[in-house]
């Protein structure tokens, strides 16, 4: 492992924060803080704040804390101290600069991964508290620029990447044609009402990773799945508004997604390998809309591959040879319980799985999630310095022989790619579908 770049105390400048802060007045800050802390929040926030005995036991859960040589400013409770405690104590009477720093802490120094909730003896949910801080900062207009831009894109286009409606359809048809070179009868069925499954993806797939649509189409086709994709907005299951605290937009985006599935009268929604999108349809967005559980069952890709392999809808020609290690994305493992299914799938398609430690629910987050990577280039080093522990964990797995790193989550994928480069780990990073597509039986 190469040495981390020399640490220079570089001031991060983020236009979203700089400009946002200039529009603040003391009255506005106080009004918004009280609106959120007194008006919108309720028993959970109160119980969490009043119950915390300031014991610091959550510290070792957090990769930021571990990666910064146990600097207490990065401990979960330390972040609450620097944000919520002060706001509560001052009854909202805090400065504009305080809000700026609070936004930075909540949006870029916490991935909302909830690992700390497993370490606190009371189960205090610090991710929830950090999201509450983000909500305050959102209402004050002090959100990092890049992620705010994606939230705007959601608001305008109902997808994350400013993709126009015709571009979306074009991309699907383009991938259909590409795949027809391999399987001439393959279709990407658009707008087929009454299909069993609607397949939804995140905005970056058509924008940057169209080959993933290709692979998914081949998997669906070979497995003989009765599926469809929408040709209208509502195809994107991702959600950055959820992470900026813009709950209203989160609700609109999720409603569009569920209503599209309802319009197509499908039985289930299957989604690609994405963690935060799963959180948004399975945990946060549905709740905002008043659904205890998603109104239409959601099946994450890992779960779906598990089903296809177990039911022998997909068979494996020859397992993937090189030893792999598996990153457990928090949002589907700690958030969706897919740890064992992920292992079933990986063992079914790969010869050798070398576990990294810790793993399953206890895995370290990639440091990209929770919208942090979406805060853009200004915070790249925040993520690199903030996750040295991940590099160490990956390095240890590598020294035991792992060559390929499987990351079944888009955010994790990009975040781990950065860590891989920055720390010179030399992994090749893949989605499950990359390998599944490669090793499955396909019509000759």
């Amino acid at each position: 492992m190469t040495e981390a770049a020399v640490k220079e105390e570089k001031k991060i400048t983020d236009e979203g924060l700089e400009v946002g802060v200039q529009n603040l007045t003391a009255e506005r800050i106080q009004k918004v803080i009280n609106r959120v802390l007194k008006g919108e929040s309720g028993a959970r926030l109160k119980a969490y704040v009043d119950t915390c005995v300031h014991c610091g036991l959550c510290s070792e859960a957090c990769h930021y804390y571990l990666s910064h040589d146990k600097d207490p400013q990065y401990s979960p409770v330390g972040k609450v101290k620097q944000t919520l405690w002060k706001m509560l104590k001052a009854r909202g009477n805090v400065s504009a600069d305080f809000i700026k720093r609070a936004s930075e802490i909540a949006s870029t120094e916490c991935n909302a991964c909830k690992r700390c909730a497993m370490y606190c003896p009371f189960g205090i949910d610090i991710a929830y508290m950090m999201l509450t801080v983000r909500r305050i900062c959102h209402l004050l207009g002090v959100t990092p620029l890049y992620i705010q831009d994606t939230a705007h894109s959601h608001a305008v286009t109902m997808n994350q990447m400013w993709i126009k409606d015709d571009e979306w359809i074009d991309t699907l048809q383009w991938q259909e044609e590409e795949a027809q070179a391999e399987i001439p009868t393959l279709r990407i069925p658009l707008e087929r009402e009454g299909a069993d499954i609607m397949y939804s993806v995140i905005g970056p797939e058509p924008k940057f990773q169209a080959q993933l649509l290709y692979q998914a189409a081949v998997i669906m086709d070979v497995a003989g799945v009765d599926w469809t994709m929408p040709a209208t907005p509502g195809w994107d299951n991702s959600d950055m508004a959820m992470y900026t605290g813009d709950n209203e937009i989160m609700g609109r985006v999720k409603r569009a997604h569920f209503e599209t599935a309802a319009r197509l009268r499908v039985n289930r929604i299957v989604m690609g390998e994405c963690g935060h999108a799963f959180r948004s349809v399975y945990d946060m967005g549905n709740r905002w809309l008043g659904w205890r559980m998603p109104p239409i069952p959601i099946v994450h890709a890992i779960d779906f591959y598990y089903e296809l392999i177990q039911n022998k809808k997909i068979t494996i020609t020859e397992k993937f040879k090189e030893p792999v290690t598996l990153h457990d994305p928090c949002n589907v493992i700690r958030g969706g319980g897919l740890a064992e299914k992920a292992r079933y799938v990986v063992n079914a398609i790969c010869e050798e799985l070398i576990e990294m430690h810790p793993n399953r629910e206890h895995n370290y987050c990639c440091c990209a999630g929770g919208g942090v990577i979406n805060c853009g280039p200004p915070y790249k080093m925040t993520r690199m310095d903030g996750n040295r522990i991940k590099a160490e964990q990956l390095f240890a797995a590598k020294s035991r022989g792992a060559k390929i790193l499987i990351a079944p989550c888009h955010n994790c994928h990009s975040g781990l790619e950065d860590i891989n480069h920055h720390y010179g780990l030399g992994y090749e990073i893949k989605f499950i579908s990359d390998i599944l597509y490669e090793v499955m039986d396909k019509p000759a």
Partner: protein, 219 residues
């Protein structure tokens, strides 16, 4: 002196118990009202099975990853809480007082054991204090109130112990002891010591979320 004793062990003790019990009820009820008013959805996620799974797991020494990481603290914290709750409840002196007033009595701890348990509580408080002073991550989130709370908890045990040995003025110490005991009782509902009331609730909620929705362990 005698009239002070009568006052602190009479009306003031009543007041303390009323504030303690009333305060606990008030805190619990007002939290429930808040849930009812604003976060009713919480009820729909609560699961008895997963609540108990979580509470049981976190009440068992070394049953969670984080307890295994901090073996000394785990032992001290369990010993502290057990002794803290059992000693005053089953103390011969306390039960005798109640018997004199209400003719009610129950099993009591052997005196020697009660003494050891008292010392365990005091020693644990010292441990917590040192930890707070020495561990950077604890120190960072410590405020004066944390020290005051530790003192409030330690005081009835220290004074109770001194009364038992009658080392200094018995009367004065006894009055001090009773006062400090009353302060501690009243502090439970109105300070962070209310974690006694809320711990089962926050655990039950997190346990239900992890078990019922997230299908993952919460330990």
């Amino acid at each position: 002196m005698h009239s002070i004793y009568n006052f602190v062990s009479g009306p003031l003790a009543w007041l303390a118990f009323i504030l303690f019990i009333g305060g606990c009820l008030y805190r619990l009820i007002s939290l429930m009202v808040l849930v009812h008013r604003k976060e009713k959805f919480i009820y729909s996620y609560m699961s008895l099975k997963y609540s108990l799974r979580s509470i049981f797991r976190w009440s068992t020494p070394f049953a969670t990853e984080n307890m295994r990481r901090h073996p000394a603290l785990t032992i001290v914290a369990f010993a502290f809480h057990i002794c803290l709750i059992l000693t005053p409840l089953f103390l011969l002196a306390h039960v005798t007082l109640i018997e004199e007033s209400w003719n009610l009595s129950w099993w009591t701890l052997p005196e020697g054991l009660a003494e050891i348990m008292t010392l365990i509580v005091v020693a644990a408080c010292v441990f917590f204090l040192v930890r707070r002073l020495v561990n950077p991550e604890v120190r960072y989130v410590t405020s004066v109130s944390d020290y005051i709370l530790l003192a409030i908890v330690a005081a009835p045990f220290i004074t109770g112990f001194l009364v038992y040995y009658q080392w200094f003025g018995y009367q004065t110490l006894l009055i001090l002891h009773i006062l400090s005991g009353e302060v501690m009782l009243v502090a439970i509902p109105f300070t962070r010591l209310s974690h006694m009331l809320f711990a089962p609730l926050t655990r039950a909620y997190m346990g239900s979320e992890f078990g019922g929705v997230r299908h993952a362990r919460d330990w």
